[in-house]
Structures are given as C-alpha cells and as structure tokens.
C-alpha cells in the first residue's frame, strides 16, 4: 500500500501548495515561495517513487476519488506509471529550477500565482494519467487546460501574450470538444464511464471514436495541422512553464492516444495510416518551420511539434504492424514511441530550461541578438549542448536510442505482406531520416548562434550565469539524458525480460567505453608526438584587422540554404506599394515593400474559419441590435408562419 500512499500524499501536498500559494498571494518573502516549491518537489519525488514501484514491482495500483457525486476510479498500471514517472521527473527538475527562476517573474502576486498554478498543473496532469474514468479524465483534462492557460497568461500585459492566450484557449477547448464527443459516444454505447468499457463498441462507432480522439489528442499534442497554438503559447509563458507544457503536457495527450488505441476494438488499417501520416507530416513540417525561426523558444516549440510527430510515427507503426499481425515488431514500435516520449520530455525540458536561463540573461528571445554566451554562461551552454545532442539524435544520448528503435522498425517493414505498404513505409522512412538530419542542422544553428563566437548585442555581452538551483534543475535532466542513452542496452534488457520481447539494441555502454578508451589513447599519442605550443590570435577575416560581431554568420544566413531548398514549403507574399507625385507614375514619392512569410495553415485553414465566424457574428449583431420593435416582431411572425406551414405539411 505504500505506493498508493505515496501517490495520495503527493496529490495532497500539491493541493496544499496551490492553496497556500493562493492564500499568501501577496506575501513578499521569497522564503515562503521556497517552501511552496519544496512541497512541489516533495510531491514530485513521491510521484516518482510510486511510479517506480509500479514499474519495478509490476502491481497496478487502484483506488478511487469522490468527485461531485462521481466515483472516479484511479488506477496506475504500468502505462500510467510510466507517464506519471515522466511528470514526476520533469516536475521535479522544473520545480528545482524555479527555486531561483521564480524570483525573476514580475510582481509578488505573479510569483505566488505562478507557483499555485504550477502545482495545480502538475496535479491535474498526474490525475489525468491516473484517472480510469472517462468523466474524471475529462475533469482533470480541463483542469490541466485551464491551469496551463493561466500560466500562459502570466505575462498578460503583453499584447502577444493575450493573443497567445485566446488562441491557446480556443484550440485546447476544441480538443476538449472532440474528447467530450468521443467520450459521449463511448458512454452511449458502453453504458458506463470506466475507461475499460471502450472495448464493447460497434465498428462504425469505434472508427468515429477513434477519429475524434485522434483529433482531440492531436490538437493538444500539437500535431500538424493543429499545431498553431504551440508556437504561440510556448514563447508567451515563463520558461519553466514552457518546459512543463512541452515536456509533459503534450505527452499527456500522447498518453491519451496510446491508452485509447490500446483499448479500442476492431482496429482498422487506415487508423494506423492516418496516425502515420499525421506523425510524418508533423515531424517534417515541424522541423522545417523550426529552421526558419529565430525566436529561441518558438524554435523549441516547433521542435516539440517535430518530436510529437516522431512519437506519432511510432504509434502509427505500432498500429500498422499489429494490423499485419507482427506483434514483436509492433511492440518494438510502441516501445520506441514511449521511450521517445520519455526522452523528449527530458531533453525538451532541459532545452527549455536552459533557453529560459539564456532569455533571462540576455532579455531577448531573438537568437540573432545572442552569441558568445559560451564564455559567460559555460554551465548553461554545456547543458544546452547536451540537450541539443540529444534532440539531434546523436549517440550515445537517449534521443538517438529511440530513433534507432524506430529505424529498426522501419527497416523490418519487409515482413509486411503488402508490397504497397512496404513502399509507403520506406518512403516514410526517408522523410523520417530527413527530419532527424534537419533537426541536427537546426541545433547546430541554435547552439552555434546562441553560444558560440562573439556576442551580437550589449545584453548578450553582459549576460551572467544563472544561479545554482537553475543549473541543478537542468543538470538532473542532462544526467538522465546521458544515462538513459548510455545504459539503454541494459535498461531494455530488463524491460525486454518483463515484456517478453528482445530488443536488438547496440550496447552503447560498451561503445562509449571504447570511445573513451580510444579518446584517451589518441590524446596521449597526440600529446606525445605533437608540438604543444598554443597561440591565441584573431580570427582570420581576409585581412580585416579586428573582427566584430557584424561579420559573423547569422542565424538567417545559416538556415538560408535549407530554406532555399524547401522554398516551396515556405510560401512568401510580396507586397509592394508605391505612390507617385504625378498621375503618370513618373515622379516617385514614397514606397513600401515587404516580403511576408505566408503561414500556410494560418492562411488557409484557420483564418477562413475565423473570418466566417466573425462575419456571421457581426451580421447577427447588426440584425439584432435595432432600436425599433417592429423588426423583432416580424421575425417572430415569420417564424410562426413557417411553423404553420410545417404543421400543414406534417400533419395529414
């Protein structure tokens, strides 16, 4: 019963923390905030403990919660425990990071409010995952949306934050709408609200449920084309919150997809294809959009889309291979997706946290104004580098392992009986490979421009290394990133024993050890034979005496070749307005030219809907806002006549 107790006390601690933070909203002492954060940290540790005990011990926890007359059953099985573990881990490091970060957030009220909402946010996510009851799931899901909305709106004074807030809200509610719809269908056909009852659905309904779940969770996860809220909401919120949202919240959506897909009966082939297409397009477009971003946090947000895509690819592959009854490969794909979920949670939180340190130090999010931070912020730089290596899927870090697993799944698509499908999978494979290569390119850019060479602005020059708590928070994640990568072989041996499958993974520990050994030998050898003189000198600049930051390669310059190659994806619109002094357009007066990047999905998917709604609403406003009485009466007169006609026709 200890794990259950751990979990429950974690929930209790978070409730207390959020309540106290709300009560002491005006308190100025930073000590009390430390206490709140200590509560959150403790709760996260408890969650981790309970999750680990389930993962290692294997016994699912089950208990329940009374919620406005509902008996919401909570159950922590292995899947839930895995996600709770992720939440606990990221929550822990984010909370540690916040120990010093929170002091930089605006006014006292904002600081305390942020902590309170953070506690609610973590709590709601844990409960969503634990909830084994559809309504409970929905309740906590909404709680998660609302608390994260508040967190996005922390800096509400800024116009863009408000825009981000409303956008985020609409999208997240749209996702809830689809979930409600799906759950309502399940409830109708199964009769009860336990999640497990989903098994009894008739085929058509199952497909409908699947589509609306895919839409609902897809929106929340930020899969393209429903991704637009992500690049708005992430930059707007404080960095620890971005880390939580990107590292954990969108993973909760992934949890939803996995949970329900595992349960849904009568899986169709096209479900898997749909998820695969969603995943591939998100992965590729996400990274391509990320390449052109120069807002550091938005760049990371687009990478979240990319990684969600990768996770979805894994899930799609799982569905495809299990449809073709290849359970071993399917399971490998599922494990790859789940492992990537964990990995992405770790490295993306790490990246967001270090980006937060950077943004805090330089007071800008624009990477074109950064540079040279390696010297002023060495620890942050090193941590960001670890994150960057991990997200670029380079061995021996964890990001590589999960992508490797996916590659292996792709490579074994020859076993599928349908040749067409095999070809499709190979095509998807090539796109996937492109994605991971582009991600590496993008992070070379991000790391290189932000941390290397000369500072590009005064602020970047004055940047200071962040406090020990912030470093510690990131360091936990960084160590995990390395550990999960290097020890992946050993970990998956254990997992494989439990799950009853074997993973054909290379032993990265052995390889890293070899690499270290070779490195040592090389180092000694080079020192032995080479000239040890070192000279520090100016960078060669074709003879220009002193180098300045204007001569450096910029981020736009760096990504330009790739942008040119993919220019068909980035649509641009050229605006050229000119006015003249005379009628014959001969004497030029003034002009305005600009090249706009068309946001494809915004332009063709979101805005038309918004425009339509706005048109309807203003039309209705005009119609309904008359001073006189008569138009109103006329409307009811017409309605009554119509009803009469209906009666005349209907009743015979």
């Amino acid at each position: 019963m200890m794990p259950t107790l751990f979990f429950q006390s974690g929930v209790g601690l978070l409730l207390i923390a959020s309540f106290l933070a709300l009560v002491f909203l005006h308190v100025k002492q930073s000590r009390i905030r430390k206490c709140f954060l200590a509560l959150i940290i403790l709760a996260c540790v408890l969650f981790l403990a309970s999750s680990l005990s389930v993962l290692l011990g294997g016994d699912a926890l089950a208990f329940y919660l009374m919620l406005s007359g509902l008996r919401v059953s909570l159950s922590i099985d292995v899947l839930a425990a895995f996600f709770i573990g992720i939440i606990g881990l990221v929550g822990l490091s984010v909370a540690i990071y916040s120990l010093s970060y929170v002091e930089h957030v605006g006014s006292e009220r904002k600081k305390n409010f942020m902590l309170s909402m953070m506690a609610v946010f973590i709590l709601s996510m844990v409960l969503v995952v634990a909830s084994h009851h559809l309504l409970g799931f929905l309740v906590f899901w909404e709680l998660m949306s609302i608390s994260s909305l508040f967190l996005v709106l922390i800096d509400f004074e800024k116009e863009e934050t408000r825009k981000a807030g409303i956008f985020y809200f609409v999208m997240t509610q749209l996702s809830t709408v689809f979930l409600i719809f799906a759950f309502a269908l399940i409830y109708n056909h199964a009769g009860t609200l336990e999640i497990i009852t989903i098994r009894g659905l008739p085929p058509f309904i199952a497909s409908l449920v699947f589509v609306s779940l895919a839409l609902g969770f897809g929106i929340k996860a930020g899969a393209i084309p429903f991704h637009k809220w992500l690049p708005y909401a992430h930059p707007a919120s404080p960095s620890p919150i971005s880390a939580l949202m990107s590292g954990v919240m969108i993973k909760v959506a992934i949890y939803g997809i996995v949970r329900f897909i595992l349960l849904l009966p009568d899986k169709k082939l096209w479900w898997g294809i749909l998820i695969l297409i969603l995943g591939t397009s998100s992965a590729l477009l996400g990274v391509i959009y990320a390449l052109k971003e120069h807002d550091l946090k938005r760049l990371l947000a687009y990478h979240s889309i990319e990684n969600i895509g990768i996770i979805l690819i894994g899930i799609g592959l799982y569905m495809l291979f299990s449809w073709y009854s290849q359970p071993a490969i399917a399971l490998l794909a599922l494990f790859a997706a789940l492992f990537h979920t964990l990995n992405h949670a770790l490295f993306k939180s790490l990246l967001f946290l270090s980006a937060g340190s950077v943004v805090h130090a330089t007071h800008t999010k624009n990477i074109e104004k950064m540079g040279g931070l390696m010297k002023t912020m060495p620890y942050t730089a090193a941590l960001f580098l670890i994150g960057a290596i991990s997200i670029s899927a380079l061995p021996p870090l964890n990001g590589f392992v999960s992508e490797l697993m996916l590659f292996q799944v792709f490579f074994s698509s020859g076993v599928i009986a349908s040749p067409m499908m095999t070809l499709v999978l190979f095509f998807a494979l090539s796109l996937f490979a492109l994605t991971s290569a582009l991600a590496a390119a993008c992070f070379v850019k991000a790391f290189g421009i932000v941390f290397l060479a000369l500072p590009r602005s005064k602020e970047a020059e004055m940047a200071k290394e962040s406090g020990p708590a912030m470093i510690l928070g990131q360091a936990i994640l960084a160590v995990l990133c390395i550990g999960l990568g290097v020890f992946s072989f050993q970990i998956f041996q254990q997992v494989g024993q439990k799950a009853g499958i074997s993973f054909d993974l290379p032993n990265l520990l052995l390889i890293s050890a070899t690499a270290v050994f070779i490195g040592a030998v090389i180092f000694i050898a080079v020192r032995g034979i080479s000239n040890r003189n070192v000279r520090i000198s100016e960078t060669w600049g074709c003879g220009i005496a002193s180098q300045n930051s204007r001569m450096e390669y910029t981020a736009s310059g760096f990504s330009d070749p790739i942008l040119t190659i993919f220019s068909s994806i980035y649509r641009t619109k050229k605006i050229n307005r000119r006015s003249f002094h005379d009628h014959d357009s001969a004497v030029f007066k003034e002009g305005h030219a600009e090249v706009l990047l068309l946001r494809f999905f915004e332009e063709y998917l979101y805005l038309p809907v918004v425009r339509l709604i706005r048109f309807l609403s203003s039309f209705l406003y005009k119609v309904q806002n008359k001073v006189e009485l008569d138009p109103y009466l006329l409307s009811s007169f017409v309605a009554i006549l119509a009803l009469l006609l209906y009666l005349g026709v209907a009743i015979r």
Binding site: E628, L629, D630, L633, L634, F637, I640, L641, L644, L645, L647, G648, A650, I651, R652
Partner: protein, 228 residues
C-alpha cells in the same frame, strides 16, 4: 329562432368581422381606429350571444356580457384617454406593409391557416361551419399580429394586439367553451396589459420625469389629464 337562422347570422357577423378587420388595417385616424375596435368587439359579443341562443350554454352569455363591458367600454375608454394625453391623432406611417399589401397578405394568411388546420379538422370533430370559424379566428390572430408589426404608434399596436385577442376568443367559441373563470382571468390580464402598454407608450413619447410621475403612483394615471 332556428339553428339555421342562427348559423346564418353568425356567418353574417363573421363577414362583418372581416370587414372591420380590414378597416383596422387601413384606418389612420386613431379615434376612428378605436371605434372600429369597439365595433369589432361588439360583433364578437353578438356572435357569443348567438352561440348562447343556439347552444344554450350560459358561458356564452357571460362571455358576451363581459366582452361588452370590457371591450366595448373599458378598454376603448382607456385607449381614448391615453390618446388624449399623448395628443396623437393619426398613425400615418407603415412598416414593411402598406394597406393593399396587408390585405393580400391577409388572404395568404387565411390560406395557410386553412391548410394548417385541415390536418386536425377531423380530430377536433369540426363540421365545415365550425371549421370555417376556427380558420377565421386564427387568421384574425395573425392579421392582428400583422397590424402590430406594420404600424408605428403604440396605440395602434395595442389595438392590433386586441384584435389578436378577439381572434383567440372567436376561435375558442368554435372549438369549445373554456371554463368561465379562465375567461375572466384572461380578460383581467388583457386589461392590465393594455394599461401597461398605454403607460409605456406614453413614456416613449414624453420625458422620463413626466413618465415616472405617471407611473407612480398608478392612480395618477386615471386622475389627471395633462393640460399642456
């Protein structure tokens, strides 16, 4: 009197009602409008009385007497008083419909009502005569509605509402008598409604201070006539 004769008389009365309604649609002078309404109600009470003669149910007699008291005397008096206070004599403008188009629309209304009610004719057990009455009653309701939204002045609108109400009463005669208590309460309601619309109508045409002076206490309304 024989049943046939009574039926014939009722038919005559109904024709009269139609004519009077057409007059209400097209009248512009408020005084004559109110008078036309009074006549309209008189014909209605006559029909009630004829029903009493034909079927012998006392409810019809009471209804007839009540109609005369309230609609021939009380309500027109109230309306005239309002009209005097507000110093409005004509209602010239129309919204959406002009008298001619109103008449055509009325025809259309009658057809639609005829169509709509044909489905329940047998269920209600109506013979053609009663059915005609029901259709006429309902059409009167709709025509009254039409008057409300096509005329501008509040008094005209009120009269339109009263015409509607007359239509309802007419319809109820042909369908079957309501309990008397209900009829009385409906009439009380009608009175209150006319009073309130008159007061509101006054409010729309005067300043707020004057309006509130009249609004409170109520009795002032019936005492003073504005001398301005």
């Amino acid at each position: 009197m024989t049943i046939q004769l009574i039926d014939e008389l009722i038919k005559v009365c109904m024709v009269l009602l139609v004519v009077l309604t057409a007059l209400v649609i097209s009248r512009r002078n408020l005084i004559s409008l109110i008078n036309t309404y009074a006549l309209h109600s008189l014909v209605l009470s006559a029909i009630a009385f004829l029903f009493f003669l034909g079927e012998g149910a006392n409810v019809f007699l009471y209804a007839s007497i009540l109609t005369i008291i309230t609609k021939l005397w009380l309500i027109p008096a109230l309306l005239k008083r309002t009209q005097k206070i507000m110093k409005i004599y004509t209602d010239l403008e129309y919204h959406y419909l002009h008298p001619t188009s109103s008449i055509f629309l009325s025809l259309f209304i009658v057809i639609i009502v005829f169509l709509a009610f044909s489905g329940i004719k047998d269920d209600l057990g109506l013979d053609p005569f009663n059915y005609f009455g029901v259709v006429m009653g309902f059409s009167l309701v709709l025509i009254g509605f039409m008057i409300i939204f096509s005329r501008i002045k509040i008094i005209t609108k009120t009269i339109g509402y009263l015409v509607m109400e007359n239509g309802v009463v007419l319809l109820s005669f042909f369908v079957g008598e309501m309990p008397f208590l209900i009829e009385v309460m409906v009439l009380m309601d009608l009175l209150a409604l006319v009073a309130i619309t008159s007061i509101l109508g006054f409010g729309m045409n005067s300043s707020i201070e004057e309006f509130h002076k009249r609004l409170n206490p109520f009795r002032n309304w019936f005492k003073k006539v504005d001398e301005k």
